[in-house]
């Protein structure tokens, strides 16, 4: 990759082969990375999980990763079909950097760190610095995504998305909710409603303030309603062929309420 910095980096192929089949991608120089052993598998080091860039959505969907980072598993399960999940990789989701990438809001909510390497060294890039725009990331030519580090947290996690059906759907709107009981923080990130995942910071702060941390973790209905409003306000959606901006803003509010209800007993609000 140092010799041919403009080569196409191909992992599962679920994004790039679509372009290649249309003749829209020059495949003269391709570096295939998904069978590189160092990029496969994962390691847990205390409260950090390091996921290799070539870990597939199918692998994220069950077993140890699903037990340690349940929201990431939920997101991975909503990607495409079994055939797609067997091929699509976590690193590929970051490489493509689509606004609708389903693992991305979860990684944003987890404050993930992206490990990047090149012939000249390694650097760690925080997720919010890695994703810089629509299908744009912070990689420079010659660099490769090698792994993603996420915290292993104690607390409920949810990932929810809206699309036209339950399978094979590109997100119209999505939301990840991550609770850290030890740190008493709540993190919410929205997908498909902006060029990159958006953290709903005001909503996060409100939930963390109002939640009954010392008890069973209940949340009252008024707070739930207010959180849904704050989440909708945080979205910066556009109109496109998958949905209107108004619909997307409404949808993330609904998803916020639904995620809170699943995560916290007693979280009420208007049925959604």
């Amino acid at each position: 990759m140092a010799e041919r910095p403009d080569a196409v980096v191909l992992a599962g192929g679920t994004d790039l082969m679509v372009d290649a089949n249309r003749g829209a991608l020059d495949m003269a120089d391709v570096v295939v990375v998904d069978r590189v052993p160092e990029l496969r598998g994962w390691q847990r080091d205390r409260n950090l999980l390091r996921l290799g860039a070539a870990v597939t959505c199918a692998e994220l969907s069950g077993g140890e990763p699903a037990a340690l980072v349940p929201a990431l598993a939920q997101a991975a399960r909503t990607v495409g079909s079994p055939q797609i999940r067997n091929a699509a990789t976590l690193g590929g989701n970051l490489g493509t950097a689509s606004p609708a990438g389903d693992t991305l809001p979860v990684l944003a909510a987890l404050d993930a760190t992206v490990e990047v390497r090149s012939a000249s060294g390694r650097r760690d890039v925080p997720l919010d610095e890695f994703l810089v725009g629509v299908k744009a990331n912070a990689l420079v030519p010659g660099e490769l995504i090698v792994a993603v580090r996420v915290p292993v947290l104690d607390g409920p996690q949810e990932f929810l998305k809206v699309g036209t059906r339950n399978a094979m759907v590109i997100s119209v709107a999505s939301l990840a909710l991550v609770v850290d009981r030890a740190g008493r923080t709540v993190r919410m990130a929205l997908g498909s409603v902006g060029p990159v995942p958006i953290r709903a910071v005001e909503a996060e702060v409100l939930v963390a303030e109002r939640i009954d941390w010392s008890g069973p973790g209940t949340l009252d209905a008024r707070t739930t309603d207010r959180v849904a409003e704050l989440v909708a306000d945080a979205a910066r959606p556009i109109d496109d062929h998958r949905g209107t901006a108004d619909y997307r803003r409404h949808a993330v509010g609904v998803l916020a309420r639904r995620a809170l209800r699943r995560a916290f007993p007693g979280a009420g609000g208007v049925a959604a």
Binding site: L10, G12, G13, T14, M17, V18, A20, N21, R22, L25, M27, A28, V30, V32, D34, R35, G80, S81, P82, Q83, I84, N86, A87, N166, A167, M168
Partner: protein, 168 residues
């Protein structure tokens, strides 16, 4: 990659491909270079599942696999799903027979992909509940049947496989 010989084990036989262009999908190589037209070519974007094959045991869309990337791999296509019966004749697998018995084939275009997906499912879980079946075939579009008889075929094939009378 141009000029390099690609070697694949397809349905148990070693096949060499000398004339593939860089960027060619596994589906293209199977159909156009190796003459295996069972896996169908429709959407070319992983949406329809009609090109479903197994690569090293993993169920994937052949159209999204770069052929050069799976050099040395074992590929199973619909042509390899049948089982050898007496006198070396190839017999239909349990899933194929179930599709016939249940009337799950109409135009037939999606059938190879569905058979591969259902074979993969029943390998992992010979007694799947309805939701698991629907999830397993969610990446295989059928525009004729409405899926009713396909679901019935899965039930039939599962019963055969659970009873030990199945193909594998």
């Amino acid at each position: 990659m141009a000029g390099e010989v690609l070697s694949l084990t397809v349905n148990g036989r070693t096949r060499e491909v000398a004339d593939a262009h860089p960027g060619e999908s596994l589906l293209y190589v199977l159909r156009e270079r190796l003459g295996l037209a069972g896996a169908k070519n429709a959407c070319e974007e992983g949406e329809c599942g009609s090109c479903t094959v197994r690569v090293d045991g993993r169920l994937v869309c052949g159209c999204l696999v770069l052929a050069a990337a799976v050099d040395g791999s074992e590929v199973t296509t619909i042509e390899g799903l049948g089982v050898e019966g007496p006198d070396e004749a190839v017999e239909l697998s349990d899933v194929q027979q179930a599709f016939l018995d249940a009337g799950a084939v109409q135009c037939g275009f999606c059938t190879p992909g569905l058979l591969m997906a259902i074979d993969d499912l029943l390998d992992r879980d010979p007694d799947p509940d309805d939701l698991v079946v629907r999830e397993a075939i969610s990446g295989n579009l059928c525009r004729c049947t409405g899926y009713g008889r396909i679901l019935a075929a899965v039930e039939l094939a599962g019963a055969v496989r659970r009873g030990g009378g199945g193909a594998q």
